[in-house]
Subunit: 456 residues, 4 copies
């Protein structure tokens, strides 16, 4: 069937509501490998977003694909009320890893899809707090699109069509220092933003705290250590440490959403390891199977998740610990133990950051670049290097996808993803296995792109 025929059927029979159609017409791909997607005509597209960080270990990673092939041939299916060894080994590996990192005992719990893992974390929080259903979360934060996850995800656009959300979070400004919500400068702000949050607990009249009872109306604070959809914004040093002190004093749980930033995207197994605080709950997904299977899950402190407090049947999902997913995830976690991803991501991340800093020097539309590990950002602005320029950003993406850039004489495309509060941030999540040559090519292609986009 030709692309034309496919697009005709797609226009007629597919919901547009489940993501596509951001570009028109949508692009059809038919093969992937390493850092590249290929269309039917065989044209290559260098991918700098890797399925929003779900494919950290490269498309069609041989080791992980092989693990999946093997599992298909042994135990492809099993109801989750029975056990299989890959599930147990995977949970054990993750729990031991957390214990080694932070010295905290806990357990691992599975589901499919990050949003369902978020829902499970909400259940753990609600249960542990005696039924409280209000949460703090960040402006710009993103935790999924179920109704429950939408209630703690900042964008009102995600809720608008769907009536009332009785559990809507209270959204707290994220420390987005390039555009400080309080108009401060990082050098001398004294982390004013945390002070503003801490202020809420000074009296009962700020609405969230009853000093007579020593209890908060809000049960947990949901954070992404680095915002994903929010535009790969990296918080300043000290921020999370100071925030955690407030939360501990007020007995508010810290839930760390690592769905997008976990598994070395930000240079550490968990992104939060960069910031010197211990989470109470960690939610993970995406890259744990390198995009091969939607397995997701969470780790929680023993006090919150032990079988007495959170007994069998507290949650459930048919595919929660499906054997195909656990087998791939187990192989991925082993791979992360065996290879030195920390050094790899630090070095490649630094190289990539240099590359885009250089681009910033040469292109006035680049307002800001930043990066931590292999999570990097290019913020597209007017020439004042501040005013967000969404139209220019869209233009850049369209040219990138047109597949007409020059790679040593070959026509190639570039796969980019856009995030940020004004949809003007190119959020870069290249494969952790990207080569230095591919990075150089990326800089070259971005350079072409920015030049073409600004030409008129």
């Amino acid at each position: 069937m030709s692309d034309t025929d496919l697009l005709r059927d797609e226009a007629q029979y597919c919901s547009f509501g489940d993501t596509v159609h951001y570009i028109d017409p949508p692009k059809i791909f038919s093969r992937c490998e390493g850092s590249y997607l290929y269309d039917d005509a065989g044209k290559a597209y260098l991918d700098l977003q890797m399925w929003y960080s779900a494919v950290n270990f490269g498309y069609a990673n041989k080791r992980l694909n092989d693990a999946l092939h093997r599992q298909i041939d042994t135990l492809p299916q099993l109801a989750c009320q029975y056990l299989h060894k890959e599930k147990i080994e995977l949970a054990t590996a993750i729990a031991k890893r957390v214990e080694k990192t932070w010295g905290t005992k806990g357990r691992v719990h599975f589901n499919v899809g990050g949003a369902q893992a978020i829902e499970d974390s909400l259940k753990i929080v609600r249960n542990a707090s005696g039924g409280k259903s209000l949460m703090f979360a960040f402006e710009g934060g993103y935790h999924g699109r179920t109704l429950g996850a939408s209630a703690i995800t900042s964008s009102y656009r995600y809720r608008r069509r769907y009536g009332h959300f009785g559990d809507r979070a209270q959204f707290v400004p994220f420390p987005y220092c390039y555009r400080c919500p309080y108009g401060k400068k990082r050098e001398d702000c004294g982390l004013h933003c945390v002070d503003q949050f801490a202020r809420l607990f000074d009296t009962e009249y700020y609405g969230v705290w009853d000093p007579k009872d020593g209890s908060s109306e809000y049960a947990a604070f949901y954070v992404e250590a680095i915002q994903g959809t929010g535009g790969y914004v990296i918080p300043p040093p000290g921020y999370f440490e100071k925030l955690k002190q407030v939360l501990e004093a007020r007995k508010i749980l810290l839930v760390d959403d690592e769905i997008q930033m976990g598994f070395y995207r930000a240079g550490k197994f968990w992104a939060l390891e960069n910031f010197n605080v211990k989470p109470d709950i960690i939610v993970f997904g995406k890259a744990v199977t390198n995009g091969l299977n939607p397995i997701a899950g969470l780790w929680a402190r023993e006090e919150l998740i032990n079988p007495q407090i959170f007994p069998p049947g507290s949650t459930h999902s048919t595919f929660s610990s499906n054997p195909l997913g656990t087998a791939v995830a187990l192989e991925a976690v082993k791979m992360m133990e065996e290879d030195d991803y920390e050094t790899m991501t630090r070095e490649k991340g630094a190289y990539f950051l240099e590359g885009i800093k250089d681009l910033k020097k040469r292109h006035k539309i680049v307002g800001d670049v930043d990066g931590l590990g292999m999570a990097l950002r290019i913020e597209i602005t007017a020439e004042d290097r501040f005013t967000p320029d969404k139209a220019m950003t869209d233009k850049i993406v369209d040219i990138a996808m047109a597949g007409d850039l020059d790679a040593n004489g070959k026509k190639v495309g570039l796969v980019l993803d856009i995030g940020g509060y004004w949809k003007n941030v190119i959020t870069l999540a290249p494969s952790l296995t990207i080569s230095y040559e591919e990075m150089d090519l990326a800089f070259n292609l971005l350079d072409q792109l920015f030049t073409r986009a600004t030409r008129g």
Copy 2:
């Protein structure tokens, strides 16, 4: 690693909250094929529940496993903001199938996990109704375990630990004629249960209808044509037709949850086809990939889901139309088009129903048996053939799982699943590909089981 070591690690590092631990210790399996699960010692367990109907086409079905292998080797990963042909072909095939069956145009929308598809359906309903968030659903109904799905799933046990559910459904008695909620007899009840539901709309004072405005407080009615978790209860003829008339008169949408009963479990592609009514929305999952990569989704009438009313980005999930899942599902749908599952399930279903009717004659603890297609039920009761006997049911399951039944001289186990309002119903979902020999063996093993269980 030995099972002992695995169970020790499991007890320490795994959450019990995500389903297991209904039997103690939980059973570990390591291989599956056809109608059988195998443990590490190689012992076979004949499976009569097939992962709660997620593996309709048999464990390790060669055609479907091959489809998965092939996709891994071509396009294992692709972000859902781009297209791949399997997604389009799958959506097209399902939408055309619905159009052929019911003459209704519509579109298909994907997500991972049945609960997320239910959440998406809630979004479609809320959006189409101007933001209404109250739904009708059945007593005994089950639609998943996200917070949103728990609100429309009857059991209070699933909500109890989690505080307030502001969108809790109004639960309507299901026509469970063996235990009629109104104490009527099917022969002469005149479908009193629908009359009771219809009565709610007679005046504004029954709480759900404003005659001045001609509008209902409730936007949709969520149904399973045959209740799954509720105990494979089959409604009487005429029930859904009469119900649908009420719903249409009151402009209330009918959402048909086919997650467990779809794909020929009940003898038809959709279980609701048995009952002569058209749904407004169909939600599917589980067996569409035969339990390989989780894919779920929904079909909705064009008026509810067209891109003007439900535009791009209305929902989203990283893995919503993941290529591994769509490839398997596409192959499964093709297989269902090519083979005559309707005849197959009718004939095998009739044979199976005969077998369990025969068991009922010989065992006083069998209060009721029933079946539609390959969805069958055995209700375990006291010898009065009515009083539910959960303890006996548990005993039966334990013996079945002990693996000590005799199959022509070989020790085997039997994999059973329990449902029903009193947890006293053996819900049978054998592989649609089960052989007549395997069915005969099943009858024999059940006979042994009931004999042993009642012996003392």
Copy 3:
């Protein structure tokens, strides 16, 4: 200012939303006394509804008016954070009365307006149940029009314009035997309606009960012993006794809304005394001040309201125990202690019921009459004596208000109120002090009215 000028200003400057404009144009009154309202022209209107039972002791009752005059001249105002003796004596009198009737110790709590007292009762229930906010209430029930009270008041019309009600009650059919919701006959129904309610607790799958935890999703059942707005429907003997057994077994509180039926309207101090059950909370209002001051309040069992569990500041309202109101209410309660209202209302009620039974014999549009104490009902129907006839009922009210009926040669009007699920019930709440002559006149006027209304 003439009535014309007043009506012109009213049409321009008054909200219609706060009740008036059921008849067009609305009627202006300027004086009241005994059982009569008078318009500016001096025409008398015999009142058979007495401000929906707020003026049980007759318009301009001298003893109560005098109490108000006296209080104005001593302590007309006092902030409720200080005490005055009338408040204490009033609370003491009511609490002792309840203790004498039912042997239960408790306390009295004040607010202004019945709806605010209902809100306070919701707070007591929520607090006592650890924060549960779901309630059972009756179809046809009415508990006020604040958002919280609207959530437990059955009519959807009262909620429709105001978005989502996350605490909406589950409405249970009231035992309206003339129109049994289950199509039963009172003679042999065995109180099937209570069995239907009790059934909800048989398994967790009926949605309201967790047998593992022995707890209900619903914290209390709000009842009117006789429905007010619902049409003065009187439940059958035994109903409340059987219902209370279910509630006690499930630890669900019984909240008795006596706002309309308390203070001898139904022949007893509290209407619920007719039905042989003890309430956990009683809410009162209206007639406690004979309509002179909006004081309302509640009595609750000591366990629910003692200062340890419900401490100072748990609720508050500027006018909650305003001295004008408490002084009148104290006088009213004393009057009820001193005079034998029980005998008076039994005898006059019986006489009135006879009178309307006689009217039923003579008028085919009278489908049903009934009464308990001085709460009586005439249900207007088609000639089949069953089909509700709202149009005829409206016509009757219009003629009554036209003031053109003949009272021994004088033109008079009749003040009637309409209730019932179909707005076809004349709900009669004559003054408890009405004379036998006035009752005879009432029968005569109603006879004229029904004759005229049916004449064409």
Copy 4:
């Protein structure tokens, strides 16, 4: 009955939950006149809080008491589905007054108790916004104690015991410049606080605004022009003007709660008149009847409240426009038209402010004094004139109530009320009719009080 006996009964039969028991034992009063309360022993207490501003025109004001006496003797009772002239004249007078002040046409709507009027305003807002139920409100704001009003009242203490509040407001810092929430100085802050609020609408990711649809998740902003319970905090010039610009740009309604500050408390008929902005809805109560019969209500713009959009029966309350209340309120409004309260309150307010400024000079525990009209504040602090000192404040109140202060040789008491976020603000609401001699006495008594309190 002696005070001892009364207090014994009170301890046994009265709920403590409806306000009293802030001092132990509570104080019993038995007479009031002018600016004084009197206890049974005849001792006088100069009242500087006048029932939290409900008795603006002095205790036992003759003109208003006479109006009440007269109404008792003519039309003391009338169901609100009929009209009486006082209601119409009162509504007309208020609506015309608003029209004269702000040039806006609108209507007046009644209920009893400020909280019920707030509930009615929520209904108007929800209805006008298509069912939106989320509101902005101020930190420190107070709008009543029904469940609906508690959801928009800041203090979490008022909600803590009562489970989930699905309509909880988003609370915005009030411009409390003495303790600027952002640590700014009034001189050069540029109204940073409004900028912070305006920032929320810059992108969809701040959680309240969808730029694609141009709509806000929040339907209205509830304000007190001067916070009452919050501690009589007076906002800086320009604040409300700038805020209103934001609200208008975002189509968010401004609801002006004048329950405590209306009717010349703050020197104008409505307190908001001081700040040069037009409200969409005004809610009033308390002083409109000078603390005699509870009447409250609201004025709304014609577009929000006309009978087409807000038809008969949209709200209801038995006592909503009870004739005793409307008669007194009508007389009060006439009195406010006839006498020059604006000049009177400006002059006396200035004199009173001078008096407490003088006290500040002499007492180090007075951190801040301020006033607008006759709404004044004394903030009690440590000697740094900043750290709130609640213990000292409590001590002051206890001494004041002990009745042992010296007034020209006579022992008298002083009635004070405490507000503020730290419960350290003496909120002064003297009678508008207080004499200059009484004010001088007040200064003298406060001076004695502060001296005694700090003596040890």
